[in-house]
Symmetry: C2
Subunit: 552 residues, 2 copies
């Protein structure tokens, strides 16, 4: 009979325990959890803070008792594993009853990650809260009751979700982010849609400004001093500047850790020590696209890894393909989702726009425009120029966003190309999509670029083009002028273009621009067929407008 | 300069014309459309009837003038191509101005399909309407104004969408279907969810009963006599019993047609005659899964085919992979969608359940249960036993249905397996999904069956099992008993199972059943580990309940 010990009872640990039991009815399985709860809904915590989830009990997906009853797992909560002795295969456990050791045949580590609390002056003030556990959420809820304003520090997923939820509860919210933009999973060109949505709902953004210190104010509130010298004030502070693996207890165990404390594992979720496995937010996993080591603290991969680790522990083997990095979040009325690599990741891996990769941006409706309630979404699709493989996608809009990213995530997970996207036969009826789904459209637009049928120009490339003498043509129909003027452009609506070709000088390069890129593409074909040198503004005026200067 | 002629200006024809122009700015392109409109929203017609789409103009996606302006295509509406002379490469056209011929270098046929009107007595009554054009929809709208009741004949997509829309307008609606069930794209086991939804909204269903004749009543209404002898009455009748390709004009052209009049094409959408192409509802295309000839009158494939045909006509070539058969529709509060092959198709191709294929049915929430508004969906996943390739999927529920089917459609289009589904990394935040998306869950459940970890029992197989002496165990927790009693089952909640193993006789086979299949799977593992012979009811009691007898 095997004896399995699992450290950590949230996503990864609980999943692994359940899977181990299903594979091995006779094994002894002990699950240690430092906190009070196992398998609670971490991802729901911001919504509990926001009272969207009103019942605390709804967050507790499993009680130790229920879990024990279903899976015959010896669940020990409030039990912290403080040391691992891989020589003797034992763990040291500290609980209310004292300290004891427990031996194992195989050990699975799923300790998770804990919020960063860097040594900033004043950071230990009691009204500066982080969010990891249900108890943390209780704490923030109690702080909400005492104040009318909050400073959320950190513009990642949790920070943004907290900002939204606290704002929805009526607080004045300032969101501080040290980087120039929030949510680095999105490229800078897309992020204004989300930053604008936050501002539109009254969240004040302080971007590109780190925290220099926290000071208590006379009224009991907190003054947050920023690097720029600016100060922002809140009755309390929610700190969400990232996490680090909770692996200090592995010191001296011989289990190899990465630079930042992540547990190193192979494709079977095995550490460097025999019979010791690790999964979840605490491990350094691999990118399914590049094979590079990466840390990705998300629930989906944690669950997948836990299942594979349990399979391997119980004798069966399948290799983990690594993470694609798919994620979604709600920002007030918008959904934002992304999958694969963004430009930031590609560029930091040395890939160059125009040489190694390009992208398209389209703005389709989430279903046919003629059916009531159609909402526009922005969809950016990044692809490799050498072979058309889809590298990444980002989408933001009110409806149908997660659906398109899910289809694209499945494509990226299998290294499919833009031509594959064209061929996807997706479900269509007027309430759901169009005969050509946005995923198909993105595939078509990308292929036009890939095959050289369309030569894309980015907004930041326009000024150089104009300086070099290019002529900018706005081919929108007059009924679209109200959206704004395309500076420096001559207006020739597309249906008039063919009859005005004589006005163009074959020596002068042309840049065409329309509302969203499609009419521009048509104009491009007409002009090129007549021998002109022409480029099309990617995403048209809509995309151009998204690239506004920082307004803080 | 090439001269292209396109016959038919709706989905396929208009798409091909636009694509041809983008590929060849100098070509002469003539588009003939018999009706008044090109590129109108056929799929929106039922919603215009239902006043969901209130503006008639919204259906007219393109006017001949706008299309001409954008694409420089010679659009000729109210112009019917009555004959094709493939020897001399001409078409004969009948318009208000008379009859003339037009020659072509290449010809693309996209004539579509027209509603069936079989020679049933009385079928030519003026209050029996079909729905193909905007004018047809106008006609039905005018009939709605005159009456309070309608008989919809035909339970396919258009019939069901019409039934819904007419019911939403307050009419008494009877839906007549000759087959035992509506919407053959769904298997019989799933369809009760949709039939119940129709009934719940007051649509009366007359299933398994064909139409024997129509008779005018004294009040001007119509009595529909059914094969069973039963009669149903309506102020008017909407006839939607299917379509046939509108290809009579090809008689004598030498263009090869199938038995039922479909144009035969190869993977480049070429007919047997050089320079003649065909796309859309009028062609016999191929299944991407089986390679077999199939007719699939859907807008998505028509568009795809049109683009490929235009590419080929203009010199570039890519082969059409064939259709997967993805479709969706709204039925009041539910969305129903399907992709790939259903059991009916598999069985008619000679495949046998349990030998060649199996399926799983799961009932996940569309997002985590703890986030408000979670809705259950039913998801059936069919897979091949030899290699785990996903063959088909069907889903029905209030939310998130089309999303899951789209991901599965992309998987089926690339012959992926249930193991691939497990690995899809799909976007997750509480408002959108769960850490394990329903697609992942379906993959896991299917793999358990595929690998023999779970031995599934179908509801209709249960009685034989019981007759052979099997013992049926209801492992639901007591709080789920209110949903209904599992007839003949002994109740042993899962957490009590391990302590009651001594009550079981190793000689007696066991069938376990829970609410939806998951606890049953856990019970199955426990019992099998202890040496018992055990099967698990697929989809649990929830699926069992869906298999009710016909109630008409």
């Amino acid at each position: 009979m095997s004896k399995y010990i699992i450290v950590g009872g949230v996503a990864g640990g609980a999943t692994a325990a359940a899977r181990l039991r299903r594979l091995d009815e006779t094994a002894e399985i002990i699950l240690f959890e430092r906190g009070e709860d196992i398998s609670f809904a971490n991802c729901g915590l911001p919504y509990y803070v926001g009272d969207v989830i009103a019942e605390r009990g709804d967050l507790l997906l499993q009680t130790p008792e229920k879990f024990r009853g279903m899976y015959n797992v010896d669940v020990r909560v409030c039990s912290e594993v403080t040391r691992v002795d891989t020589e003797n295969r034992t763990v040291e456990v500290r609980s209310a009853d004292g300290v004891y050791t427990e031996n194992y045949d195989a050990l699975l580590l799923s300790p998770g990650a804990k919020p960063l609390r860097p040594p900033i002056p004043g950071i230990n003030h009691p009204r500066i809260a982080t969010l990891r556990s249900v108890q943390d959420a209780d704490r923030i809820r109690s702080l909400v009751g005492t104040g009318g304003s909050v400073v959320v520090v950190g513009g990642g997923f949790i920070g943004v979700e907290l900002a939204e939820n606290l704002r929805e509860r009526g607080l004045s919210v300032t969101l501080v982010e040290a980087m120039p933009h929030i949510l680095p999973i999105f490229d800078t060109d897309m992020i204004s849609l989300l930053e604008d949505e936050l501002r539109r709902h009254g969240v004040e953004l302080a971007l590109g400004d780190g925290v220099a210190g926290f000071e208590e104010q006379e009224d009991g509130g907190i003054c947050v001093r920023l690097s720029s010298g600016r100060t922002v004030h809140g009755d309390f502070v929610a700190l969400a500047i990232g996490v680090r693996p909770d692996t200090a207890f592995l010191d001296g165990s011989g289990i190899a850790l990465g630079e930042r404390g992540h547990i190193l594992v192979n494709e079977y979720m095995q550490t460097n020590i025999p019979h010791v496995y690790a999964v979840g937010d605490a491990v350094l996993t691999r990118s399914a696209q590049t094979g590079k080591a990466t840390a990705l603290p998300l629930a989906g991969p944690a669950n997948r890894q836990a299942r594979l680790a349990a399979d391997r522990m119980a004798g069966e083997a399948r290799a983990y393909r690594g993470v694609v990095g798919t994620a979604a979040l709600k920002v007030f009325g918008l959904t934002a989702a992304a999958t694969g690599q963004n430009e930031r990741a590609l560029q930091s891996a040395g890939m160059v726009y125009g040489k190694d990769y390009r992208f398209t941006v389209i703005f389709p409706r989430h279903h046919v425009a003629y059916y009531p309630g159609a909402k526009e979404l922005a969809l950016k699709l990044i692809f490799r120029l050498s072979d058309g493989v889809v590298l990444g996608a980002q989408a933001i809009g009110a409806e149908g966003v997660d659906k398109r990213i899910d289809v694209l995530a499945s494509a990226i997970g299998r290294s499919l190309t833009v031509a594959d996207l064209e061929e996807f036969e997706l479900s269509y009826a007027p309430p759901y999509s169009a005969a050509k789904d946005p995923v198909n459209m993105a595939g078509y637009a990308a292929e036009n670029i890939l095959l050289g049928r369309s030569i894309p120009l980015l907004p930041h490339e326009l000024s150089a083009e104009l300086a070099a003498g290019a002529r900018l043509i706005d081919v929108r129909p007059p009924e679209e002028y109200h959206a704004g003027e395309i500076a420096g452009a001559q207006r020739i609506p597309l249906p008039r273009l063919r009859e005005r070709l004589h006005e163009f000088d074959p020596q002068v390069p042309i840049v065409v621009c329309c509302k969203m890129g499609l009419r521009g593409y048509l104009a491009e074909q007409i002009l090129r067929a007549h021998g002109f040198s022409v480029k099309n503004m990617v995403g048209g005026y809509t995309y151009m407008k998204m690239q506004h200067e920082e307004r803080n």
